[in-house]
């Protein structure tokens, strides 16, 4: 018997009420700040950097970071900080859009497979297994090869690339939650099958996936940057973070900041989002007994 189970067992009549929320860990606070910063940059970039991301200044090309240009300037004299801030909308947009798309596909396939069972389940599961066997980036490349690079294609490509993994998880969740006592109890009360799915099966099956989705946003940002870096994502004049990396590649030997600083931003955002996702996972996991 563990200490905590003893503690709860000693007082069998636990008073109804909620415990005070614990103070979040410093890492969580820091991650939340980073994410908040990126969200502000995406929604209102002017608040953080008032210049234009495409303002060319041929007198100040390839300048190292300074007070005037905290991230330095690129080969056209554009302020890199302004470009990173203005790129947040596209990067975050691809991250969120791809994850939403992935989940829409995954929920459709996962629920259909788990609830239909039989031949439908077998076919969907096999298709997912084949898709899952491909690296997600390879699947994304396939989509881009068909549609040609653009912002929308990036979203579709990363979304389709990560959908199979989520679909498998969702199918497993649905199968597990369907066995739960409360599903049978709801059916025994005389609720319609669709009511049971909507009220009990869907929310409970999806609950652990909220955290997974948050992790997915971070991953999608990294993937979309990788695609842009390979010249397969958003085209260079745009300041999407992967495109910045791609543009800076030419000057990496002379102007390190063009490569390192956007890279650091991508890494920081990915870590922050992942860390928040993990926190969420623990919180939700704890609530789910």
């Amino acid at each position: 018997m563990s200490a905590s189970s003893v503690a709860t067992a000693v007082a069998p009549a636990v008073a109804p009420g909620r415990t005070l929320p614990r103070l979040p860990a410093p890492g969580t606070v820091l991650s939340a700040l980073v994410v908040a910063f990126v969200v502000i940059a995406a929604v209102a970039p002017g608040l953080l950097a008032d210049g234009s991301p495409t303002a060319i200044d041929l007198h100040a090309t390839l300048q190292a970071p300074s007070w005037a240009h905290p991230f330095g300037t690129d080969d056209a004299g554009r302020d890199l900080f302004t470009r990173v801030v203005h790129g947040a909308r596209q990067s975050l947009g691809i991250g969120l859009g791809a994850t939403v798309l992935a989940f829409v596909i995954a929920i459709g396939l996962g629920f259909t497979a788990a609830l239909a069972g039989g031949a439908v389940d077998a076919v969907i599961t096999r298709v997912l297994e084949v898709a899952f066997a491909f690296p997600a980036l390879l699947l994304a490349l396939l989509v881009i090869a068909v549609r040609g690079p653009s912002l929308a294609t990036s979203i579709v490509a990363v979304g389709i690339g990560s959908a199979p993994g989520y679909a498998r998880m969702i199918r497993g969740q649905v199968l597990a939650v369907r066995q739960a006592g409360f599903i049978e109890a709801a059916a025994a009360l005389g609720h319609h099958r669709f009511t049971v799915i909507r009220r009990h099966l869907f929310p409970n099956a999806m609950r652990p996936l909220v955290a997974v989705a948050t992790l997915g946003v971070g991953q999608s940002i990294v993937w979309s940057s990788s695609l842009s870096f390979l010249g397969l994502g958003v085209a260079p004049p745009s300041s999407e973070w992967g495109a910045l990396l791609d543009a800076g590649r030419l000057h990496i030997t002379t102007s390190w900041w063009l490569e390192i600083l956007p890279g650091v931003v991508i890494v920081l955002v990915a870590i922050a989002v992942t860390s928040l996702g993990r926190t969420l996972q623990h919180r939700l996991g704890g609530a789910a007994r």
């Binding site: 007082a11 109804p16 005389g190």
Partner: protein
């Protein structure tokens, strides 16, 4: 915390010199939480001391402390903990390893998790021999067979080659005991050794422990079950909130208890003697004796005709789990279905609920088709049949509060509430009907105690105003005092509302207490069927007779 009655404790240790184990003022705390609050007892060779209590009493922590497995974070203090004169309190982990198995044997409740799934049973049984460098490999293998034979395991030569998951619960528990007594330790600590077992197997395991005791082993038996204790113990110590509230010879504690708590515990045990009387003290009804509402012997409310259920196993072999089961349940009546694990009683309940389709046979509700209806045709009738499960928590959506659960159930009934306020009022009335209050409305079932959760589950079953409630082991997971309250609640509700119960349980005492008529099931078949008196007093089938002999009893009839 209340002050302890040390009177009985002091009386109970006259012959100190021969004592094998001597515990004085043992305290165990986890942080600020004192779980064992100064208990003392001595154990003589060839004697069994039972430590009895409900969950949270500190009995299991006591057992673990005596084998040095209290765990990290625990603070153990005592004036004295001696085993055969040697101090156990300041024993190093290394020295503990020398003691466990050789000096102290430890038998845990759940043999499935206590045995390593990947090792052969022979190796598991011989493990203490190997650890304490007893004999060589061949001698140990022979000894393992000998030990399994001594604990009554059939075909021991085959069993030593098998792995724990290939054995039944009873065989696993016996293998665990064989392992604990391998080196013939003078002290055996058994923590709920029979709790997960069927009664017939439980009887065999208790006989085994009695034989060990007769050979001079001193046994410390930890149990929540007073009737199990009655069968084996010489002395009984009743624990509550870390204190021993009563301690004395078994006969005295069980038949002439001095402490109120012991009296309450004993009164709460359902059996043939408690029929038509209340198990818990107080409660809404003032009279001690129940006035049973007469059973309506007209048309049966629920009728099962020749139910058969065949499951196809993973090995493509068909297994008949329910075999030609028929019964009638009348209005205001309780029909008990009793049987051991695997007897098909829960499957029968699920077919009666029409959650599971029978392979053959039919269930009728008020003389009309029920199991034969299509899902859509049956749905409007579902409000007539409620259900209460063994584990209420898993039957609640973890996101929902007690109030939302009840309001949802109300909406499925014949009179769905027309407004939010009405729904809330009726949910509160349901809570009050099952002995809870409006304050529980917003509580998450996660934060309720086991008894309160089962009350919410009963309230949910009542919400659509059903004529039948299927109760599948509704009190099996509860402490005896809470079990008593829930059983009283169920009988009160039956008297008030005239609802019928199809009551499934493995516990013959519970079944005898609540049932008007009883079905005894074995291997999917009904082996005996009759009124409670007929089945319990004049059992015809040998299996029923075996069951009844196997039940540990507090009092002789």
């Amino acid at each position: 915390m209340t002050t302890v009655e040390h009177r009985a404790v002091d009386q109970a240790a006259p012959q100190l010199d021969t004592a094998l184990l001597r515990v004085e003022n043992l305290r165990v705390s986890f942080g600020a939480n004192e779980v064992v609050a100064g208990i003392s007892f001595t154990a003589q060779p060839g004697q069994c001391i039972a430590i009895v209590g409900e969950s949270g009493s500190g009995k299991s922590v006591t057992a673990r402390t005596l084998v040095g497995l209290t765990g990290p974070g625990a603070r153990v203090t005592a004036d004295r903990v001696d085993l055969a004169g040697a101090d156990l309190l300041h024993t190093s982990e290394r020295a503990w390893r020398g003691l466990r198995g050789r000096q102290i044997g430890f038998v845990l409740q759940d043999a499935l998790v206590s045995l390593d799934q990947l090792r052969r049973d022979g190796d598991e049984v011989a493990e203490p021999l190997r650890l304490h460098r007893w004999g060589n490999r061949t001698q140990r293998a022979a000894k393992a067979v000998e030990l399994l034979t001594s604990v009554g395991v059939p075909e021991p030569e085959v069993r030593v080659q098998q792995r724990p998951y290939e054995l039944s619960g009873g065989l696993r528990q016996r293998a665990l005991i064989a392992s604990a007594i391998a080196l013939d330790p003078p002290l055996l600590i058994a923590d709920e050794p029979t709790t997960a077992l069927d009664v017939t197997v439980q009887a065999q395991v208790l006989d085994l422990l009695a034989a060990s005791k007769a050979r001079g082993t001193s046994i410390i038996l930890i149990s929540h079950d007073l009737s199990v204790v009655a069968r084996l113990a010489d002395e009984v110590a009743v624990m509550r909130d870390g204190h021993i509230v009563e301690h004395g010879p078994a006969a005295q504690v069980l038949h002439d208890p001095q402490h109120d708590y012991t009296r309450m515990l004993l009164a709460a045990v359902p059996s043939e003697h408690t029929r038509d009387s209340r198990l818990s003290a107080g409660g809404p009804s003032t009279s001690d004796r129940r006035v049973r509402r007469p059973v309506d012997r007209g048309r049966p409310v629920l009728e099962a005709r020749h139910l058969t259920k065949v499951f196809c196993g993973p090995d493509k072999v068909d297994r008949t789990v329910v075999d030609d089961v028929s019964f009638e349940l009348f209005g205001g009546e309780t029909l008990g279905i009793v049987g051991e694990s695997g007897s098909g009683k829960t499957t029968t309940a699920r077919i009666a609920l029409a959650i599971l389709a029978a392979t053959a046979g039919e269930v009728l509700l008020r003389g009309e088709p029920w199991s034969a209806l299509s899902t859509d045709r049956r749905r409007p009738l579902r409000k007539q049949v409620g259900v209460v499960y063994q584990d209420p928590l898993s039957s609640f959506d973890p996101r929902w509060s007690a109030g939302r659960i009840l309001i949802d159930a109300l909406s499925t009934g014949g009179r769905p509430p027309s407004s939010r306020a009405e729904a809330r009022d009726r949910a509160v009335r349901l809570l009050e009907q099952v002995g809870l209050t409006a304050t529980h409305l917003d509580a998450s079932p996660l934060r309720l105690s086991g008894g309160q959760r089962q009350r919410v589950a009963i309230a949910r079953a009542l919400a659509p105003e059903p004529s039948v409630i299927v109760c599948d082991e509704p009190v099996s997971a509860l402490d005896v005092s809470i079990q008593a309250q829930v059983l009283d609640l169920l009988t009160d509700l039956q008297d008030d509302l005239g609802v019928s119960y199809l009551f499934i349980s493995h516990d013959l005492g519970v079944i005898h207490h609540v049932s008007d008529r009883i079905l005894v099931m074995k291997d999917g078949r009904v082996v005996e069927h009759g009124t409670a008196t007929e089945v319990f007093e004049r059992p015809r089938h040998p299996y029923t007779q075996e069951l009844l002999t196997a039940v540990p009893r507090l009092r002789s009839a």
